[in-house]
């Protein structure tokens, strides 16, 4: 690893003094970054540190106010994405970027169509696409399948196939693993190392420090749009050092302990829940208890919790709330009982991005803010926002600010605030820390702990074993829509047992 094949020491990519200002924000302030030939370079930093912005300046989406970019020692002039691709730079964006209604092969060659006599050569494209898909382990998928029929992880792999097929010298991956499960991640890590051996450089952005350390050669950390310390060799730093560089302090514990929690009576019981993607699921949660739900990608966890919440139809099964059977046909039936879902996709399903914190925070229990005549009292709404905003440590604490202008972690807090204000009792979190930086993660865990201390129950769906083992009282594991076990997380089990269950084995 890390040996330069060209024999020269000319860096592949060198960025000097990059400055990028958005109205009101200095997103990048004099940032330097050097990617050598044949290395896996890590770019780390908190949410909003400027990582995505930096890579967007490489490919010409953002025009920086200051700074220079060199490609193999030459000043790089990129006017469009095409120029970047032609130089040999491929990008896998943070937000999945494919066109759902078009087929895999179309997506792969979008903008780079192979042509014969001026017309698109579909045959050749299919052949090439087939090869590329085989390479990333999608050999059983037809190249003409519409993208929308694939799962999130599969889509991510198609994007990687695309990058490989373009014979890039540098592949930039902006959080490619955030929607992947453990085995896919392992596969991807292997693939990265393999590509690297073939001489491809990789610029890798992630919030998962363990995987970063597994593949990284060198690491650059950004903090508030500035370089935080010099670029270092991964061998020379510990995870703690990196966290220190990212957040400016050390974190005492990654998974804070709960105090004063009293696990009380059973509050929600699910019996024999069945639907399309899951079968005969039964479990219960108690007051003050956190139940973790683990599974590999496509295990059906999201579908399960959405069905409990009434967002998707449930075929059969009973929901018993506080000892009484309830019927949940739509989300509002669940909400009325105090069972709420914080979805995976906060931007599209949790927030109204163009509305401010007050609107977002009070939309569920609007009737609570009505005066005697039935009109909404805005003073009461503001007071509630301020109260809960303080409690959740919302930053910045500006009730009139639009949700779209908050960072990822703070957006998650607004969603939680909405449900806190509605007086929910059972909180179902689906991947609550997806794409959230290490510092903000701890804040979210603290909020969860406080909820539990106040007697609420939590069901947490997560793909990170660490998080599951670090936070839950009990763990339910799912495999291909079936429940393979519920175990107490009292130290008697560990990663291995959970993974056995998650791959269909028994303990």
């Amino acid at each position: 690893m890390g040996e330069t094949r060209s024999g020269t020491d000319v860096p592949l990519l060198e960025m000097r003094g990059i400055t990028k200002v958005f109205p009101g924000v200095v997103a990048l302030d004099n940032v330097n970054l050097t990617v050598k030939q044949g290395e896996v370079h890590l770019l780390l930093g908190e949410n909003g540190a400027g990582k995505s912005t930096l890579i967007k300046t490489i490919i010409g989406i953002n025009k920086p106010e200051g700074g220079e970019i060199f490609w193999l020692g030459q000043l790089m002039k990129i006017h469009s994405l095409k120029d970047a691709y032609e130089l040999g730079i491929s990008v896998i964006y943070q937000e999945l970027s494919n066109i759902p209604c078009l087929s895999i092969v179309e997506n792969m060659y979008l903008g780079f169509e192979k042509r014969k006599n001026g017309l698109i050569d579909w045959k050749k494209q299919r052949v090439c696409a087939r090869k590329a898909l085989d390479r990333v382990g999608l050999s059983d998928i037809d190249v003409d399948t519409p993208m929308e029929k694939l799962g999130m992880g599969q889509r991510q792999l198609v994007e990687i196939a695309m990058a490989i097929d373009r014979k890039a010298k540098l592949i930039i991956m902006d959080e490619p693993t955030s929607s992947l499960g453990r085995s896919e991640i392992d596969f991807l890590m292997e693939l990265m190392l393999e590509l690297n051996r073939e001489g491809v450089s990789i610029l890798f952005i992630t919030h998962k420090l363990d995987e970063a350390k597994r593949v990284g050669t060198r690491v650059t950390v950004l903090r508030n749009g500035k370089n935080s310390g010099a670029t270092m060799s991964v061998k020379d730093v510990t995870e703690e050092d990196i966290i220190q560089m990212m957040v400016g302090r050390t974190l005492e514990e990654k998974y804070p302990k709960r105090k004063n929690v009293r696990i009380g009576k059973e509050i929600l019981r699910c019996q024999g829940l069945c639907a399309d993607k899951f079968d005969k699921i039964s479990f219960a949660v108690k007051e003050g208890e956190m139940l973790g739900i683990f599974g590999l990608i496509g295990a059906g966890r999201t579908e399960l919790v959405r069905a409990i919440f009434g967002a998707d139809p449930l075929a059969t099964g009973n929901l018993i709330f506080n000892g009484e059977e309830i019927e949940v046909k739509r989300p509002r039936d669940a909400i009325r009982q105090g069972v709420v879902l914080i979805t995976e996709n906060r931007k599209e399903e949790g927030l109204i991005l163009i509305h401010n914190v007050i609107e977002n925070g009070t939309i569920v229990p609007l009737e609570k803010f009505q005066n005697k005549l039935g009109f909404i009292d805005n003073k009461k709404r503001l007071a509630a926002i301020e109260e809960y905003g303080q409690e959740l440590n919302l930053r910045p604490m500006q009730p009139e600010k639009l949700a779209m202008n908050f960072s990822g972690g703070n957006q998650q807090k607004i969603v939680i605030m909405k449900w806190l204000i509605s007086g929910a009792k059972v909180f179902i979190f689906d991947e609550p820390t997806k794409g959230v930086d290490v510092g903000a993660k701890v804040e979210i865990y603290n909020i969860m702990n406080r909820l539990l201390e106040n007697g609420a129950s939590i069901i947490m769906v997560s793909s990170e074993i660490d998080e599951i083992l670090g936070m839950s009282d009990r763990v339910m594991v799912m495999y291909e829509g079936k429940q393979t076990g519920i175990v107490k997380n009292d130290g008697s089990i560990g990663e291995e047992e959970i993974l056995t269950l998650a791959t269909g084995g028994t303990l």
Partner: protein, 340 residues
């Protein structure tokens, strides 16, 4: 971020809300200078009278657009409601008040059909369903009337459309049209409704993000159906005024009215993508179009040129909105909005 928030943003915000107001004022000043007939009580009352009907229609259109919808059938919903009312009044001879109630109920029902097509039949976009019903309502109106106007409305119906507030009091009250006052009252009610009631806020939420609204426990189908019912009711009310004004219900009265209503709403700053907009903006959007039409008439500009002016004004008003909202930045977001 914060600095901008303080002064510049506040100013921008005020400008933002006042945009159409400023346009109306500039237009009025220009017209006052160019023709001494403009700033007379009579003319102002003319404008008031001419504004009322489209004012009602625009209000209904606005709530639809706030949910990211649209109601293309609004013109012929109006026509058909008034035809039903006129038939009841003139041919069956029901009491005028009952006839008016029937008119409003008809409007509500026609709106309900639009809403149900969207929420129950799951037609993908109200553009399509209301384009369909627009033709249907128009056709039914023509069939019902045999394509001839129904005239001879009872007094009370005419009153709403053509009477003045006072009667030979010798004051200005004799000139203020009742219809305009009714419209003002309705705008006031809507500004309360949209800002201070649950349904009102839910309309904004559904327009802001339909999925989030659904997952927040809002009865999205109810909200989406409601706005078309509201639009139907507003169309019927506008229709009562139109009938009063012309003392007849005729089957082509609704032709192209949806265009003016949409234009007024968009000029008034309501986002075409839903979730953003206010009653005041729409009011001034309606006013801008009325003043423009009146002014061009007074300046004896030919109707062909008026058509051109209207087109230009729609584009300029929206363009100002784009620039005002920070142009590029916002547009980037908009583009994202459009995206699947």
């Amino acid at each position: 971020m914060d600095k901008e928030n303080s002064i510049g943003k506040k100013l921008k915000e005020i400008m933002g809300k006042a945009g159409p107001v400023i346009a109306v004022i500039i237009l009025c000043i220009f017209l006052t200078i160019r023709t001494d007939r403009f700033l007379t009580i009579n003319n102002i009352m003319n404008i008031a009278r001419q504004t009322s009907m489209s004012g009602f229609l625009a209000l209904g259109m606005m709530v639809c657009i706030l949910t990211a919808g649209i109601d293309l059938s609004v013109g012929f919903t109006m026509t058909l409601s008034t035809i039903v009312m006129a038939k009841c009044a003139v041919e069956i001879g029901l009491t005028p008040l009952l006839c008016m109630v029937i008119c409003v109920v008809t409007g509500a029902l026609l709106g309900l059909i639009n809403g149900l097509l969207l929420t129950k039949c799951k037609l993908p976009h109200p553009f399509i369903s209301t384009m369909g019903t627009q033709n249907i309502y128009k056709g039914i109106g023509l069939v019902l009337t045999g394509a001839t106007p129904i005239a001879g409305m009872p007094m009370i119906i005419s009153w709403a459309g053509s009477a003045a507030v006072g009667k030979s009091t010798g004051t200005i009250l004799d000139k203020i049209p009742v219809s305009f006052i009714l419209m003002l009252i309705m705008y006031f009610i809507f500004s309360i409704f949209l800002n201070y009631t649950r349904l009102g806020r839910h309309i904004y939420a559904v327009g802001g993000s339909i999925t989030t609204a659904e997952l927040s426990g809002i009865n999205v189908d109810f909200v989406r159906t409601s706005v078309y019912v509201i639009s139907g009711i507003m169309a019927a009310l506008g229709g009562i005024i139109a009938v009063g004004r012309s003392d007849s219900a005729y089957p082509l009265s609704g032709l192209l009215l949806e265009n003016d209503a949409i234009a007024a709403v968009i000029i008034g700053g309501t986002s075409f993508f839903g979730g953003k907009g206010n009653v005041l903006g729409t009011f001034f959007g309606v006013l801008l179009i009325s003043v423009l039409r009146n002014g061009l008439n007074l300046l004896k500009v030919s109707s062909d040129m008026q058509t051109i002016f209207l087109g230009v004004i729609i584009i300029i008003a929206v363009f100002i909105d784009v620039v005002r909202n920070g142009g590029f930045k916002r547009v980037k977001r908009m583009k994202k909005d459009e995206e699947k």
